[in-house]
């Protein structure tokens, strides 16, 4: 039996528990894979502290900063690209510093499992000169939380905790460190030289930031997160960072090679340990010592190692052996080590299968209101219209031809405006989800009206932040704890941005929705269509059950209009008889939205009679 304080749990859940145990006073964030479960799990723990889903990451970080400047411990959670949104406060926060400990949890996504890019936020840490902890395992991420708060308070600096997807969504037996009480007092202290970043203050604080670097590096350099194992006489040294360090350890064991090993999980990096490793492998005049740096994405460690290797008798390898993009794994690392060590390595060769497998892309669910909205949008605007898009489940509209762009949160309305102002004469209809609209869509809408963009903005209001796991947002009238709060009206917001044409429609009513889109297209100036229907997943969780539909085989003409609609509940059975058309069928996945019945030109799809 395991010890009592060991639990098999998700990395993100352990981080949440560690925040709770660190007596945090405020945690804010915006949902984003792979970070979302941290705040969800913390909310379930019913902590005494304030927890919130903020409207975006910039807001979340600034709320956390306010708490810190009042002496409270705070954390802001976000996915890696969320830090781009929060980068404005982030960069200057480095100058201002903190009072209560402030931890920014940036969940990075090497391999773009669920993201539009795979940027390496260790670069942000370097750029801002903010210390960063890069955990190798879920256990380490959990342990780093209380350390990060202590470090933050000791040096009056924010600290980044940078778990990656494999840490956030890794599950492991995790030992919880238990509660500790920092004994802080809450109260905003007026410190204008520090909190008011006027140029004369900023110049002074920039200097303070630079001067802190050495003592922070010293503290991190001797921390337990970095580990050096010198193997006497080894001519090969391996340096691996964060999650890559566990792949490297496994590869070294499997290959059975003799190598000194340095694991790095802090930034600033432990330069003294790097020097020791370089010294140990670069002692002999012959052969030349070999050092391989293994890190996911950017050559952050490699650059540092090369800059201090100096005149030592070593060759430093890194991105010449290890890919600079994508996620690493043991096989990739084994191949790189073998190459540097001059070993024969037989990589695993996939055996070609005689069976051809169909692709299985993610799809909108049966009964997803987005599919219905896009159907009507395409009917009204035509296939050749321009459909700029945004980030959410509805990005899957790319399969329906109604998602021509997807760049970052909130970029649909703004790129649509630019396309219009560039002189594009085709109709332009962009789509943005309810949560994304509230995140960064509003300034774009205001800008569109202000600058006269004749575009249609479709707000896909499914009453939730669906893609990341159905978090509430200000449009839902619920907060993170599920308690009732102010419900923002998308209509009122749109109107106060100056939009004259604001129409709401139910996408399950196909005729009405096409008509609303037609009116919006004809309207000369920015038009807003709010296509409102609850996400089918949350609706079913609430117990909503609609009568399913079925195809009447006598009426079905085999035209495949319903198949082209693309609902996974519908399929087509070809006729076995020569010259005969097949028939559509609706399977057990049907949830009864009834849209395909409206799509069918022969009225062959009907509600199943009870």
């Amino acid at each position: 039996m395991p010890e009592k304080n060991i639990r098999y749990q998700l990395g993100n859940h352990a981080i949440a528990q560690a925040l709770y145990d660190s007596e945090v006073d405020l945690v804010s964030g915006y949902p984003g894979t792979p970070s979302s479960e941290i705040i969800e799990a913390l909310a379930r723990l019913k902590p005494d502290c304030h927890v919130e889903w903020s409207v975006n990451e910039k807001v979340a970080l600034e709320v956390a900063i306010g708490a810190s400047w009042s002496g409270g411990r705070s954390a802001a959670t976000m996915k890696h690209v969320g830090l781009n949104v929060a980068s404005d406060p982030f960069m200057t926060l480095a100058y201002a510093g903190v009072m209560g400990g402030l931890v920014i949890i940036s969940a990075d996504d090497p391999g773009c499992h669920s993201s539009q890019n795979e940027q390496d936020n260790r670069r942000y840490a370097q750029f801002a000169r903010i210390p960063c902890l890069d955990p190798a395992t879920p256990q380490e991420a959990c342990d780093m939380v209380s350390y990060a708060f202590d470090l933050s308070e000791k040096f009056e600096m924010p600290v980044i905790l940078r778990p990656t997807t494999r840490v956030c969504h890794g599950k492991s037996d995790i030992r919880m460190p238990g509660t500790k009480k920092p004994g802080k007092k809450i109260g905003f202290e007026k410190r204008p030289q520090q909190w008011v970043m006027l140029p004369p203050h900023a110049r002074v604080r920039h200097n303070v930031l630079i001067e802190k670097q050495d003592i922070i590096a010293e503290a991190l350099g001797s921390s337990k997160w970095n580990q050096l194992d010198i193997v006497k006489g080894a001519e090969l040294g391996i340096i691996a960072s964060g999650v890559a360090s566990v792949y490297a350890r496994e590869a070294i064991e499997r290959l059975g090679i003799k190598a000194s090993f340095l694991k790095i999980s802090t930034y600033p990096m432990p330069l003294n340990l790097i020097e020791q490793l370089l010294d140990s492998v670069g002692q002999l005049p012959d052969p030349v010592g070999q050092v391989l740096v293994i890190e996911e994405l950017e050559p952050v460690v490699e650059e540092a190692v090369k800059s201090i290797s100096g005149t030592r008798n070593v060759d430093v390898h890194g991105k010449d052996m290890v890919p600079i993009n994508g996620e690493l794994n043991v096989s990739i690392v084994e191949a790189a080590i073998s190459k540097v060590a001059g070993l024969d390595f037989a990589p695993h060769v996939p055996v070609e299968s005689p069976v051809e497998l169909p692709n299985r892309p993610p799809v909108m669910c049966p009964g997803c209101p987005h599919r219905a909205t896009y159907y009507a949008m395409k009917k009204a605007f035509g296939k050749s219209a321009v459909f700029p898009g945004d980030i959410g489940c509805y990005t899957l509209g790319v399969q329906m031809g109604t998602m021509d762009t997807c760049l970052c949160m909130g970029a649909s309305i703004t790129t649509a405006s630019g396309i219009y102002h560039a002189g594009e004469t085709k109709p332009i209809c962009c789509s943005i989800g309810d949560s994304t609209f509230l995140h960064t869509g509003i300034p774009g809408l205001l800008n569109a009206v202000y600058n006269g963009a004749d575009i249609t903005v479709t707000i896909l209001d499914n009453r939730t932040t669906a893609m990341t796991g159905h978090q509430p947002n200000p449009g839902t009238g619920l907060n993170v704890l599920g308690d009732a709060t102010f419900m923002a009206s998308l209509e009122d917001i749109s109107k106060s941005c100056g939009v004259e044409f604001v129409e709401a429609t139910d996408p399950f009513d196909v005729k009405e929705t096409i008509e609303v889109f037609n009116q919006a297209r004809e309207h000369k100036s920015t038009a807003v269509v709010i296509s409102r229907q609850e996400c089918i997943i949350t609706a079913r969780r609430r117990g909503i059950r609609l009568t399913p539909f079925a195809v009447d085989p006598d009426e079905c003409q085999g035209c495949k209009a319903c198949i082209r609609f693309g609902c996974p509940a519908s399929s087509f059975i070809e006729s076995t008889e020569e010259g005969q058309k097949g028939k559509a069928v609706i399977g057990g996945l049907c949830v009864g939205c009834g849209v395909c019945a409206q799509v069918c030109p022969f009225n062959a799809i009907k509600e199943v009679s009870k």
Partner: protein, 195 residues
């Protein structure tokens, strides 16, 4: 030997995470270190999902290609898609009941003949166990217990006690479905060896 690397694959919504949790939690309750990895996010919308569960593991959660001890396929095409993870000495436990992806439903692609999938799987593993888990799940009392049926079949190969797997099922499924899930587990376990 308690080291065991398991790949669980299926289609988003089939309960791959529950299946991983049952094994992972049982192993931890037996005092083993476990490192597991899950698919969250966009792929969960009906796409291919893959979970890695490594028992008695001190390293990372990703199983190297060609080294998994077993593949549990909640769906046959997905089992074949992941077959490169399996060691030649490995076991495949696979559901014979297929789920057509949208590419097949729309007529853009063809779903392979199940027997061809099973034959290919059979040629690439030491032992293949195929069963109609959906049918057995209905027999157990609920169609949604197919994942637990498959865990039952897999239990014959895991270095874990049946008791700890049953305990972890009881802890993880909704309280009023414990009995039907335990029955599904038993039926799955007993289905191996009958063929």
């Amino acid at each position: 030997m308690t080291e065991f690397d398991l790949v669980i694959v299926g289609v988003g919504g089939q309960g791959a995470i529950l299946a991983s949790d049952i094994v992972g939690m049982a192993a931890v309750n037996e005092g083993l270190h476990v490192q597991a990895s899950e698919t969250h996010g966009m792929a969960q919308r009906g796409g291919s999902v893959i979970n890695h569960v490594r028992l008695d593991c001190r390293y990372g959660s990703l199983i190297p290609a060609g080294r998994a001890d077993a593949i549990l396929g909640l769906e046959p095409a997905e089992a074949l898609r992941a077959i490169d993870f399996l060691s030649p000495d490995g076991v495949v436990v696979v559901n014979t009941n297929s789920i057509f992806p949208i590419t097949v439903l729309s007529g853009a692609s063809v779903y392979p003949v199940i027997d061809a999938v099973l034959d290919d799987l059979d040629g690439r593993c030491k032992h293949l166990v195929s069963l109609d888990a959906d049918r057995i799940a209905i027999e157990a009392g609920h169609p949604l217990t197919a994942n637990v049926v498959l865990i039952g079949a897999l239990s014959n190969f895991l270095p874990l006690n049946v008791g700890s797997l049953e305990e972890s099922i009881s802890n993880l499924v909704p309280p009023r479905t414990v009995e039907v899930n335990l029955k599904a587990f038993r039926l799955g376990m007993e289905s191996v060896g009958m063929d």
